[in-house]
């Protein structure tokens, strides 16, 4: 029987700015886990930044996890929190927040998936590739935490 993915894990950031690529690195790790365990109901995507057309993508899922790097010093290693729709003044069109994507999805399609914001603490943001050792450690912990969280929901 065909299983239609109902969970989306969407990592975003700029891998060319060191730890800003944590969201993308997270998706790579999750992809390996999905392949190794033949999980069929989880899709992934990654991009440089969230864009307005992502509204069209998330509307097809029941649950969405947005994964981003964070420089917030109050986050020790990572945080996973429910995400609410947020209407903000849009100064730019090419980079929008996950809350805004949710808000726009609800306004355009009358539906929004249950969503979470996963923030992984990063430390270094210079213009080159590769995660810092602290970010690598936080990444591993976040991957483990999300795998635990999704355990009861995966379909093989």
């Amino acid at each position: 029987m065909e299983i239609i993915p109902d969970i989306l894990i969407y990592g975003y950031g700029n891998p060319g700015r060191r730890d800003d690529g944590l969201g993308n690195a997270f998706v790579e790790k999750i992809n390996s886990w999905i392949r190794e365990n033949s999980i069929r109901n989880i899709s992934t995507d990654s991009n440089y930044q969230l864009n307005i057309e992502d509204v069209e993508e998330i509307r097809h899922y029941k649950e969405v996890f947005f994964v981003d790097a964070s420089c917030d010093e109050t986050i020790r290693d990572f945080s996973i929190a429910p995400l609410n729709p947020h209407h903000e003044e849009q100064i730019f069109s090419h980079s929008v927040s996950p809350g805004y994507i949710l808000y726009l999805c609800e306004e355009m399609y009358g539906y929004r998936p249950s969503s979470f914001l996963v923030q992984i603490r990063g430390y270094q943001w210079e213009f080159c590739e590769g995660l810092s050792s602290g970010a690598e450690k936080n990444l591993r912990q976040t991957v483990f935490a999300l795998q635990e969280l999704l355990k009861g929901k995966i379909k093989k």
Partner: protein, 486 residues
Amino acid sequence: MGQKITIEPVTRVEGHGKVTIYLDDAGNVSQTRLHIVEFRGFERFVQGRPYWEAPVLVQRLCGICPVSHHLAAAKAMDVIVGAGTGDGLTPVAEKMRRLMHYGQFFQSHSLHFFHLVSPDLLFGIDSDPATRNVIGLAKSEEFKHLAVRGVMMRKFGQEIILATAGKKIHGTGAIPGGVNKNLSPEERDKFLKGADPLNADKMIEWALDTLNLFKEYYKKHKDFIDNFSSFPSNHLSLVRKDGALDIYHGVIRAVDAEGKKIINDVDYQEYYKYINEEVRSWSYMKFPFIVSLGKEKGWYRVGPLARLNTCDFIPTPLAQKEFEIFKAVTGGKPNNMCLHTHWARLIETLHAAEMIKQLLLDKDLQGTDLVRTGKKQYEGVGLIEAPRGTLFHHYRINENDQITMANLIVSTTNNNEPMNRAVNVVAKAKMTGQKQITEGMMNAVEVAIRAYDPCLSCATHAIGQMPLEITLKDSCEKVLDVKRSW
């Protein structure tokens, strides 16, 4: 004492800008400036890097039109690896790059019209800013479908970019001398036969619908569209050698406000003989000008309006028909009306959709001869029409294949003087003698800037937050405060 009004940030443009309008004692506009407050640095950053990295590196200038930088740099590197320009590439390489570029045009123009401009037109520039945005469109029963269309058209273009550039983030499709992949039959069929609305025919239909929407609006608001921030200017763009609109390759042509050719179809490898840049102390963005006309008279517009003013025809049937209607408005003369830029942009959107279909039907895209090289050169120029206008990339390398010089003149930089003039025209029309500055009036200034679809991050070659020192001085040049961002 005179009054200073500052609009910061300018909204619904790409990047950071600040506008300052100075009123004199009588309430007249005495001076206006569009300041660019980001820091310039990318040209220095690429120095010392191997030349083959340039097409991937420079696209990180900006998240909004990385494809333009990717392709402009690749074209410059084509010259350096001895593949030459234009016809020097294999058919599959040139057509894959064109498909990538038309995909970018389609998504960028669609986003700009539906999400940045249409709220001004549909709700009015004096309307409540709380609803004068894409959320306002989405909430409106009358216009909700436009918000959805904007998203879907953008998605279609982005999918084309993904298929041609290889990945969403920092695409690698174009390499010095060619491309690193062709288009598989499966990828082709997805775009030709995809379920509605994500197929080429539907995109052409929607592009045409959008044009008709604009033309209907124009009929009802002709005075506003014709007169808002209009002023004569020179116009510059690439054109194909036979005078056709061509956004990927051609020769440089510039015309004056009356249509007289002032740069007559010259090879862009020698652009520096015709274009120079002036530095002004109050902006990080330079002011380019046509050398033969000098700094005062040599400024020019680039972008959709300029392209339709310089080209002789559009080589796809539906867009050509619309081009003829557009040209008839000015009796075939150049169009200098600022808000007609949106009309020109929509004609280009239709052209891009037609070109995408035409290219998808071309069997060359499944070819396997991807790269061509020849005798190595030490200097190369790549020129391309980005959605916002002409984009120049110029590089020199040394014996060790390291880049020793990079000069980038991006679309928004080319439009620097026109944008400043647009601000001035609107400010004078809307604010002179007024005692109270309304939000609608301030937005009018932004509407004028927004017509150029500026990307200010790009124009200053910013790479995120740069170390910056800000010094505050009084009128006697006395330093009041110094702050650093690092």
